[in-house]
């Protein structure tokens, strides 16, 4: 399999399924104008997730260094545990929905 296929395959797949979803949603009466707001919300979710991940990462490094300074030991590799990213995104989702619900 060529390098080009490796890179393009997931993008092409996502583009295809996005187009199918778009057609399905339009068929079900979803407003075209609301898609713009949905995309804005999605970008805000990504931004909030990135900010919370940076915060959690900084906190993790601080905890590891503090434990070491107190004579204990925690590995710095704990800080790059992928579940931290997933948990940060979950935090972002809950916070975003919480803020939106509180406004109503």
């Amino acid at each position: 399999m060529s390098t080009w296929v490796d890179q393009v395959f997931p993008l092409a797949l996502a583009a295809g399924s996005s187009l199918a979803l778009l057609l399905l949603a339009r068929g079900r009466g979803f407003e075209a104008a609301a898609l713009r707001e949905a995309l804005r919300r999605a970008l805000e979710f990504c931004g909030l997730g990135a900010a919370l991940y940076a915060l959690n990462l900084g906190l993790a490094v601080a905890v590891v260094l503090a434990v070491r300074a107190l004579g204990g030991f925690l590995s710095l590799y704990l800080c790059v545990e992928p579940s931290l990213l997933a948990l940060s995104l979950l935090q972002a989702l809950v916070l975003q929905w919480w803020a939106a619900t509180s406004r109503r």
Binding site: C46, Y77, Q96
Partner: protein
């Protein structure tokens, strides 16, 4: 904090756009591959007093990680080609599992004489590995080592071992592939690159190399 104010939302959108652009650049360009090549340690084959294989990981059941296995096999290969008369395995300890002992058993199963094995278990950092291996080898009057570790880890490990008083000949193991092209693999490669860059920064701050 008002997440619903227009100013905050605009800021979050900007940050989100940057994050997505960053992911796209890492996943779909050779940036991670280029950075990996810049941090990559060299190999300089030479004969020495001992072959020293640095730790990677082991699971609580005693199963060696892929990186640990690759390094152990390279150490055994170096010894069998006659690089040194002594093979040293360091290793972490996880619950009851000892990486060094698991590697030692593997080496014996593959024909290494148990009398030519030295195990240094229970290490946690590169600095601890260097201190303990240096003490053990210098106590036997040995100073020159073939150092076996991963391609990203080598430069830092080499400096730390040299600072501990040993003469180092690096034997790099490709435990992380720098030729990844699939987006997720490149993201993983970038994570490894950033992790090593952070570790080098920390060691430099501590004056450990």
């Amino acid at each position: 904090m008002n997440l619903e104010s227009e100013g905050t939302r605009r800021g979050l959108r900007a940050l989100g756009t940057l994050a997505l652009l960053g992911l796209a650049v890492i996943g779909f360009t050779p940036l991670a591959n280029v950075l990996h090549a810049r941090l990559h340690g060299a190999t300089r084959v030479a004969d020495a007093d001992a072959v020293v294989v640095l730790c990677s990981s082991v699971d609580p059941g005693g199963r060696l990680s892929e990186g640990s296995l690759r390094r152990a096999v390279e150490g055994i290969r170096q010894m069998r080609r006659g690089a040194a008369p002594l093979l040293v395995f360091t290793g972490i300890t996880r619950d009851e599992a000892s990486e060094a002992e698991a590697r030692g058993r593997l080496a014996v199963d593959l024909g290494v004489d148990p009398g030519r094995l030295l195990l240094v278990p229970g290490v946690r950092t590169t600095a601890e590995e260097a201190a303990q291996v240096s003490a053990a080898l210098r106590g036997r009057g040995l100073r020159e080592v073939v150092l076996v570790t991963g391609s990203l880890h080598m430069l830092r490990a080499q400096r730390v071992f040299e600072k501990a008083g040993l003469v180092v000949h690096p034997a790099t193991v490709e435990d992380v592939s720098g030729r990844e092209v699939q987006p997720f693999d490149r993201l993983s490669l970038m994570r490894a690159v950033l992790q090593e860059a952070a570790a080098r920064g920390l060691y430099r701050l501590k004056g450990a190399h």
